[in-house]
Subunit: 352 residues, 2 copies
């Protein structure tokens, strides 16, 4: 078993108010590389920032890293268009960052990215892979792809109040720009992802298709973004069994409609509750308040803990360790890096 | 502890007869990516070939992989200019393949590569790193760098009969083309590597400098190439303790002169004998016959086994396992990949 973490960027995330995967739009471009760093190394190495939401909620990479430390599973990065820096090794399948979905073409390299990822998925020697993602703005592109394919337009959010109207407006403009009406791309997943998707969706779909074609079991670790990738795979004609492993925070979010979407895609849904309720810790309380919800493979990581002999209490303890280490590292780098731009190296502010 | 494997290419390897790190010059360009694949995944995934020498001696990556399976240490790839494909994740620090040393500039991106690698070496969270290399033609560029720096021109070979005259002629032509006489680049390591080095030397030197500057212990895992990287580090003014861990095959090679070179660079030399004498197996007998000798971190991997509770007999057993798996994979891919170019997927031919 191996965690495969697909990282990339879309200019769509620059739209104010659309994503909480970074303290501000400038820092948000560093989030994917920093998330890889946290999962692989336990802390940012070359990425200049610990990803936090505007209110200080730390990245779900903390939870995934904690699960990895607890269970000892291997994790590899896949670069589908990382814009910032990372000290984590990655397999490059992409052709650079994705454009804003309101451009005529959102992912010019979608086909190449899909094919390279598919080949990689077929070549990995594992019996089972768990695929996660990190891409700010990814729930909006997921909504775009689901709409273009004619699937249920379910969409979660890293913000407590899902900016649904904004996302729908952006997606509507994106479909217009791509010359698509809802459902027009049914059966043509590359058209959907090229017009209104992002490079991570192309890569996750390709990895999944390639893996199941070579009899590797695939668990999609995430919420509506991974469901959108599953939809792309289904529209590519792949009907192999797929599992979507997400968090209770996504499952409890009515606007996400994840259960209905999974059902309509014939995808098995697994929901795991990490038991953060009542925990007075900034790395966990924010989730209970509705922030972040999912990402960086968190739902899959929780599922792996559930499958193991370890307990959620063990995981929560480890989350505190990882969080404390991140804070210590961020403090140290503030001291060490002179003239670090844009508040890079700034730690989460504490309570969200 | 972590193994950091730096992979790249130099056009110098295209000179007929200069390297045995591939069955022929066309296949040789796939060796670095395939070596990473073997160490990380246990077999080539996206690399189209199992690296073997012209006589069928399998890559030293087999030994390093076997040690990794035995001891369970982590390994990450660093891409300093891989030309072929690989399914192994890597951190990109390079600017593409190196040119032939007989060009006026052998490594146009040497300074950028060195600096990015130095930053990475300083950022890795490990207490100790073991650095290996894979670059066909690398002993010739190592000779070039040592000569340019005015150090002892020691040079090993992956061939039983070291083509020393050829290497010296190539290096002499390279120094001419770069406008250097022997010793002219003393104290100016970037000038040496730019004129007559390769991108892997630039990256290994940068990693080493960055790591020791941040109090990470560094073991250089290899022979004359890693010694040349140590020379670059010394000429950059870094006098921290360094260990060079190499194989008995390099230490026993008079033309390599590794002990004298290490001594003159104030580098501690560790030599490990894997006990291949009398072993009738194609993955081991070739070394006793003088082939390969070292590479892909082999000397460091042997040193790690020696430091551990495992025995060399355990390692030799595991080498057979890894080799058999490689053969099985190569056979399977011959069947699966139609029209695979250049004999890609061809297995070692058996007895060297």
């Amino acid at each position: 078993m191996r965690l495969v973490l697909v990282a990339g960027t879309t200019e769509t995330a620059a739209e104010p108010g659309i994503s909480a995967a970074g303290a501000d739009p400038e820092l948000m471009r560093h989030t994917p590389g920093a998330d890889l760093d946290v999962v692989v190394h336990g802390e940012p190495t070359l990425a200049p920032v610990v990803p936090v939401s505007p209110t200080g909620c730390p990245t779900p990479a903390v939870v995934t890293r904690a699960a990895r430390e607890l269970l000892g599973f291997d994790a590899i990065g896949v670069d589908a268009g990382i814009a910032g820096r990372t000290g984590a090794p990655a397999i490059d399948v992409g052709e650079g960052p994705g454009a804003d979905v309101r451009e005529p073409t959102a992912v010019p390299g979608a086909e190449g990215t899909y094919e390279r990822a598919r080949e990689l998925g077929g070549a990995l020697p594992d019996d089972r892979i768990v695929i996660g993602e990190t891409i700010p703005g990814g729930t909006t592109t997921a909504l775009g792809v689901l709409t273009a394919l004619g699937e249920e337009p379910a969409v979660s959010s890293s913000l407590p109040e899902n900016p649904l109207d904004l996302k729908r407006r952006v997606v509507a403009a994106g479909l217009d720009a791509g010359g698509l009406a809802p459902g027009d791309a049914a059966g043509d997943p590359l058209r959907a992802v090229t017009a209104v998707g992002d490079p991570v969706l192309a890569a996750v779909a390709g990895l999944t298709a390639g893996a199941v074609e070579s009899d590797t079991e695939v668990t999609l670790a995430g919420g509506t973004q991974l469901a959108a990738a599953a939809a792309l795979v289904r529209h590519a004609g792949v009907d192999a069994p797929l599992t979507l492993a997400t968090t209770s925070f996504v499952a409890d979010d009515g606007s996400a409609g994840i259960a209905g979407l999974a059902d309509s895609l014939s995808v098995d849904l697994t929901v795991t509750d990490p038991g953060f309720d009542g925990v007075e810790h900034p790395a966990m309380a924010a989730y209970v308040a509705g922030e972040a919800k999912e990402g960086v493979g968190m739902g899959g990581a929780l599922h792996l803990v559930e499958e193991s002999a370890a307990s959620m209490a063990d995981l929560r303890e480890r989350i505190v360790d990882v969080y404390d280490r991140l804070l210590a590292g961020a403090d140290a780098s503030e001291g060490a890096v002179e003239g670090s731009p844009d508040g890079a190296g700034t730690a989460p502010e504490g309570e969200p």
